[in-house]
């Protein structure tokens, strides 16, 4: 059986859904971050798969962009989580609800 681009897409969709559900149901900030990474990488997978299928370089280029941005985001995000953890001794995001309307 040949592995076509459609399979990659299916896998990416599955990974994305797992990440999204994880983001919504978990309360630990660290795990939520991991879920986001999962979603980002699901998207990356669609990019490279589509790029390869269509014979275009843009797919791989986009992936590099996403990786860089994700790395930056993680850096900032982790720093915030560490700061919050030091302040509250907890990484439960539901406790961080002071900025409500």
């Amino acid at each position: 059986m040949e592995v076509t681009a459609g399979w990659y897409m299916l896998l990416a969709a599955g990974l994305f859904a797992i990440g999204a559900v994880g983001l919504l149901v978990r309360r630990n900030a660290l795990v939520m971050f991991m879920s986001i990474e999962l979603m980002l990488n699901a998207v990356n997978l669609t990019f490279v798969a589509a790029g390869r299928e269509l014979g275009l370089l843009q797919g791989q280029l986009a992936v590099l962009f996403v990786m860089v941005v994700a790395a930056a985001e993680v850096t900032v995000g982790l720093a915030i989580i560490v700061a919050v953890f030091r302040y509250r001794s907890s990484a439960d995001v539901d406790d961080l609800a002071e900025l409500k309307g």
Partner: protein, 625 residues
């Protein structure tokens, strides 16, 4: 010389600018002399430029100064023709004398420099008005003289009455201006320009009688406002709150004649609209007799003269309405001489009586101030129309032309005749009460003759009053011939003078009426004590038939009501309500949207996901992929 005619405007304008900037520093009396000198210089330039018309070498000419609003055909350019020349000479000549008179009259006033700055600015504006070669430039002068009139009426603004009078003059004039502006709009819509030359030469081709009537009636509204004709005359009696030389210059000799000038200048339009011309004459005649009746009951010497001015302006309107433009302008000119003289004489009397204006407290002044008395007596004989003084020639010419026109104009002639009798009566009353009889002035008063700067202009104007009429007698129509080119250039027809026999007969009729009026006043007022004028009728006369109260009730009060409703109901409730309503709406909506911002990051994420899915569904549904 004609190319330098702009100097006529520039001199007084420069004077005004200088005095506004440095008036306080220049001080008394030099600011007065500076202002007078600019007027004198303007007069000399005007005279030199007029010389060409007299010997016939000069023809009407347009002098371009600069482009102003070319799209409207409105340029700052001057039409130099005999009509504008006549007006320039009257404005600068009489103006210069009144400036000189003011040097003495305004002595010791804290606003000395400011006064002369305004006076100079007025002269410059009036000269713009009469020299303009298009309605737009004329309107600039028209509005500026209105402004100066306002500034000078309320010159002593610390007096509430003066401040109110200035405001009233301004507001009433705006009503007239409203008509004038609409007239200009129709002119522009019809001709595509406001320039006299185009409008007047194309008028017979482009104008239907209906449009011509509309334009000219609206012009009449403007003219009636500026020239204090029925029903817009009410501001002029109140304008007497200003300094007396201002009354002489602006509210007797020059500015109020602007309406007459406007009608005469627009003769090419008025001759296409006989109905409007008839209306002008009727308004004039009615104003003449109405104001003359009110003048009989006035106790304040300046108010007598104010109503007399309204009445005489009515004569001028009657003249120009009857198509006798030269006669109207002639009376404008002689009236400028004798009415300025009367006002300045009255000023001299008031000066001597230390501010007293009530004639019942005067009497017997002829011995105390002989110069004022003699000059005023000449003006008195001139205004009531005793030959050979100026008023006789000009008033009788207007009446003769009205008579000659026949038809409905005969009724106007009768009104004019009655007015002549009334004029003789009230002017004689004023003279007898002021200068004859026993002194009735207050204890300790010692009236004395005015200083020489005030007397010299009186004498000069008295001279003009004596000889001024002789420039246009039926025997020698010099002014008529002088002015003809101004009307011929736009093909305005001038009526022919009646035969000498007819004119003599008419003059005799008028003279009889005049003498009856004067003798009646003589019998009534030259006795001791003078009749006490009290009672309902006199009260009505003194208060001008309560027209002011009537206007107050029918126009001012409803206007105030409308303003109140607009301010307290419409503004606070509707306008503010709408603004506050928008604010409240936004606040309410945000109150309802607030719970969405619940601070739970995961719920935000859920919304984002939901939004993304929704967007995807929408895109798929409309078949984007």
């Amino acid at each position: 010389m004609v190319s330098a005619i702009w100097l006529v405007i520039a001199f007084p304008l420069a004077g005004a600018v200088l005095l506004l900037a440095f008036g306080k520093r220049i001080g008394e009396p030099w600011s007065g002399w500076l202002a007078s000198a600019t007027m004198g210089a303007a007069f000399v330039v005007g005279l030199a430029a007029t010389a060409g018309f007299v010997d016939g070498s000069q023809h009407p000419e347009t002098v371009e100064l600069f482009e102003w609003i070319p799209g409207l055909g409105v340029n700052a350019s001057i039409l130099w023709d005999p009509l504008s020349a006549t007006m320039v000479l009257v404005v600068t000549g009489v103006g210069a004398l009144i400036h000189i008179y003011s040097i003495g009259y305004m002595h010791g006033d804290p606003g000395y420099g400011r006064y002369f700055a305004y006076l100079n600015l007025f002269a410059a504006s009036m000269l713009v008005l009469v020299l303009a070669d298009n309605y737009g430039f004329l309107f600039l002068g028209w509005e500026l003289v209105g402004l100066c009139s306002y500034l000078l009426i309320s010159f002593w603004f610390e007096k509430p009455a003066a401040a109110a009078a200035g405001k009233k003059a301004f507001v009433v004039n705006r009503i007239g201006d409203f008509g004038f502006i609409i007239a200009m709009m129709i002119i522009f819509a019809t001709f595509g320009t406001l320039s006299y030359v185009t409008v007047f030469t194309e008028a017979p081709i482009l104008l239907t009688e209906g449009t011509a009537t509309a334009i000219t009636l609206l012009l009449l509204v403007g003219a009636a406002g500026k020239s204090a004709q029925l029903p817009l005359y009410v501001w002029l009696p109140d304008a007497m709150e200003g300094p007396t030389p201002v009354s002489a210059l602006i509210h007797a000799a020059t500015m109020v004649t602007a309406g007459v000038y406007l009608v005469a200048r627009s003769g090419a339009l008025f001759q296409l609209a006989p109905f409007s011309a008839g209306t002008v004459a009727t308004v004039g005649a009615l104003t003449a007799v109405f104001a003359a009746v009110i003048a009989i009951g006035q106790k304040d010497i300046k108010r007598v003269l104010a109503y007399s001015t309204i009445s005489q302006l009515g004569y001028m309107f009657m003249g120009v309405g009857a198509g006798a433009y030269v006669a109207g302008v002639f009376h404008l000119m002689t009236h400028a001489f004798f009415k300025a003289l009367l006002f300045m004489g009255a000023g001299s009397v008031i000066h001597a009586m230390r501010g007293e204006q009530n004639m019942e407290k005067m009497g017997g002044l002829r011995k105390a101030m002989p110069w004022t008395f003699i000059t005023m007596a000449i003006a008195w004989l001139a205004i009531i129309g005793i030959p050979p003084f100026a008023g006789f020639w000009s008033k009788d010419e207007i009446l003769a032309f009205t008579f000659d026109k026949g038809g409905g104009f005969l009724a106007l002639w009768v009104i004019g005749l009655i007015t002549a009798g009334l004029t003789a009566f009230y002017m004689s009353r004023m003279m007898f009460l002021t200068f004859w009889g026993k002194p009735r002035w207050a204890e300790g008063e010692d009236p004395h003759e005015s200083p020489v700067t005030m007397v010299v202009p009186l004498v000069a104007l008295a001279g003009l009053t004596v000889v001024g009429g002789l420039i246009n007698t039926p025997l020698r129509l010099s002014l008529e011939h002088f002015l003809e080119p101004a009307f011929e250039q736009f093909h305005v027809m001038l009526p022919n003078e009646g035969s000498l026999t007819e004119l003599t007969l008419l003059a005799l009729v008028v003279l009889v009426v005049v003498v009856i009026g004067a003798v009646w006043a003589y019998v009534r007022y030259l006795r001791d004590p003078v009749p006490a004028e009290t009672g309902v009728t006199w009260d009505r006369l003194e208060n001008g038939f309560y027209v002011d109260d009537f206007y107050g009730k029918t126009i001012v009060l409803p206007g105030k009501k409308v303003a109140e409703v607009a301010a307290f109901d419409v503004d606070t409730k509707v306008i503010d309500g709408a603004v506050n309503g928008v604010g409240r709406g936004v606040k309410g909506a945000s109150e309802r949207l607030r719970p969405l911002q619940n601070g739970l990051v995961r719920s935000y994420a859920a919304w984002v996901l939901l939004g993304a899915v929704g967007l995807l569904v929408w895109l798929l549904a409309r078949g984007a992929f």
